[in-house]
Structures are given as C-alpha cells and as structure tokens.
Symmetry: C2
Subunit: 211 residues, 2 copies
C-alpha cells in the first residue's frame, strides 16, 4: 500500500468517533462537509483522506454512516482484539490499567509488569502485577501486540530492546526519552511535559497554535 501520513490516520480516528456518535443518533447518511465541520477541517480533506482507501460515498448523497464506520474500523485495525501489556506499575501505569476504555475498542490489557519486588504479586484493578523478569517469555507466549511503557526514563530503552527482541509489534512510550527501535516496530510517544511546553510557548509568544 501507498504510504499514509500520520496526520491522515489521526483524522480517520476522529471521523470514526463522529460517525459512532451519528450512528447512535440514528443518522443514515453524512456528507464530507458535515464531517469536516465537526472535526475542524475541510470537506476536501475528508474526501482526500478517505480516497486513499477507496471510494465509500455516493455522489449527491454523502456517506452511509454505518457502512463508513465499519470501513474505518476495518482500516484502523479495530476489527480484532489486540493484546496489550502495561510495563511499569507506577502512578500512570496503574491509572491506565484501571482505564476500561481500552477494552471497548478491542485493546485487551492482559497484564501489568514491574521490576520492584515490593510491587510484584500485588493486585491492581484485577491484575496481579507480574515480575518484569518474565516479560520475554510472556510476550512470545501470549502473543502480545502492544506494550504501553510507563517505566522511569533510565529503564525505558533497556526494556524496549528486550520486548522488541521478544517479538512485540508496537510500543506506546510514556517515558520522556527518544527510544531507538527497528523500522518495523510502530512507536508512539506520549509526553505531557512536551505538550505543556507547547502551550507555554503559545502563551509566551501569543502565537495562534493550531491543533
């Protein structure tokens, strides 16, 4: 397939959210214009985004809501269950383990890990915290797709190297470091400090920020 831009994928996610809302409200069709208004973009952008994957609309009419939603779920890989582990049972890790929004979308958290002996064996929202030592074995055996990394910055690269070797496919990194991973591994960084600095920059410079 042709290369799809990061920004396009983000927007597809957004469109899906709106479609699910429309679906619930019983709307049958939606135009690119309405979708665009809702997402703060343009109708041309919506149509271009979708056009990378096929033509799903009817000229003169718009898009059938449930069909397009189904198509987007398919494109985004939400048609199946993904196996997720959380590594690091600190504050963020524990909060994420308790967040049930994952499951709804097919992100099935199957375990949470820590290296601290004082934490291993304790329970967090139904999960028994597992020992980090067993992670390679588990990743392979339980066919883990995605790791959510909430370990301290110093430990992050070492952990990610281990799980990549064990066969992980994707990593969502909360540690404030730039991780080195092979090209075929999907990596996303979530960094509160950086987002806040974006706001602080905008405030300090009175620059209109568009996001």
């Amino acid at each position: 397939m042709k290369h799809i831009a990061e920004s396009t994928v983000r927007r597809l996610s957004l469109y899906l959210r709106f479609l699910e809302d429309f679906e619930q409200r019983g709307l049958a069709t939606i135009s690119s214009d309405e979708l665009a208004a809702r997402g703060g973009t343009t109708s041309a952008q919506v149509r271009k985004d979708l056009s990378f994957f096929g033509s799903f609309g009817k000229r003169g009419l718009g898009y059938a809501v449930p069909e397009l939603a189904a198509k987007l779920r398919d494109i985004l890989g939400l048609g199946r269950e993904w196996h997720v582990i959380i590594i690091g049972a600190g504050k963020i890790g524990s909060a994420l383990a308790q967040y049930h929004g994952f499951r709804q979308r097919g992100f099935n958290v199957v375990g949470i890990y820590d290296s601290d002996p004082a934490k291993v064996g304790k329970r967090v929202d139904g999960f028994t915290i597992r020992d980090l030592a067993s992670i390679e074995k588990d990743v392979a055996k339980e066919e883990i797709d995605i790791a959510v990394l909430t370990v301290p910055a110093e430990a992050a690269q070492q952990v990610v190297t281990r799980i990549v070797k064990a066969g992980i496919g994707a990593v969502m990194n909360f540690a404030p470091v730039q991780l080195q991973v092979p090209d075929h591994i999907a990596l996303k960084n979530v960094n509160m400090a950086m987002e806040l600095e974006g706001l602080s920059f905008a405030l300090a410079n009175r620059t209109p920020l568009n996001d």
Copy 2:
C-alpha cells in the same frame, strides 16, 4: 513574529531535554549533529529550527550548552511560573494532580475542580477539591493561565466555554471531543484512544509509522 510550526516547537522541547542532560554531565558545547542524532532528526533541521529565533552557535565549534538551554527555556516560555488548574477530579485528573513533574518545569498547579458534591471538599495530594461553580471567579482572581480538562466528554465544551470567557489562555484537553475555542486560545488535545488506534493501524497495515 513569523509563524512557527507546531513540529518545530515540539523539537525545541526535545532539544531542551537533551541539553539539560548534557548540562548535568558537564558538557560545555554540542554540535547540531549530536543534537540531531539524539533526537532522531538531521543537523540541518536542528539548525533551521534554531534559526527562527536567532543564531546561537559558533561556527566550527557548535553551541554552548548552558547558553542554548537558557535560550530555549526562554523561547518556550519556561522562564516564569504558569498557573494551572485541573478540572475534573476523576482518575486522570487526580493522577495528574499528584504528578510533581509539573512544578519543576514551572507549571504550578493551584487547584483542582469537580462538580460532584460528593467530591467537593475532599483532598487530593494536598489539594482540596473545589466546586466547579466557583471556577469563573477563581480563573480571574488567581490569574490562571492553563486549564487541564479531564471532565467527561459531554461536559467538556460547556466547561471550556466558561473558562475561556473567564480569561483562560490555554487548554489541554483530555476529553475525546473536538473543542471549539477562539483563535487566541491555545489548545492541545491528548487522546489515548487516538494514539492507540494509530498503533493499531500500523499493526494492521504493517506500515512503518514515523513518530
């Protein structure tokens, strides 16, 4: 000032992190090449990013670490204290209130709010949860710069409209909705579900994702 791209600001944040690391290790100078290697970009990109704000380097030598760090802190608006409030004392809101990384960077959390009478008055990590009803008054009186929004999706737009009217400057939105704010308000969205769907897309399509 000329318009600065979102991506540039993110990289400046990243460079600052590296510089602070180098600073701590006592390094006096750093080249754009080394900075680039650390951040997964190119030396030309580093120089171009910095060039929007001035010329801080010495040809043949590189950049003086503490000077460049100071300059970046200044550019990013980290030279002063920002007053931050958290709105929504649920799981995420409470976790953020307990996160002390904010304070270090000059983001001073001064209060946490909820509309649930059962929560108002309770304490979270040293903060007494305040009643959402008093938010307009407080935003104005305490000169709040940044609001971190962790309320349910249904309430988000209404709350943001109120605080914008009360004079807030920037909003970091955790609710999975696209908020409407005037142009002069800085807005950042943090959306776990969307990030995960990005990973899921990459896994489902084996598309190398670059982030």
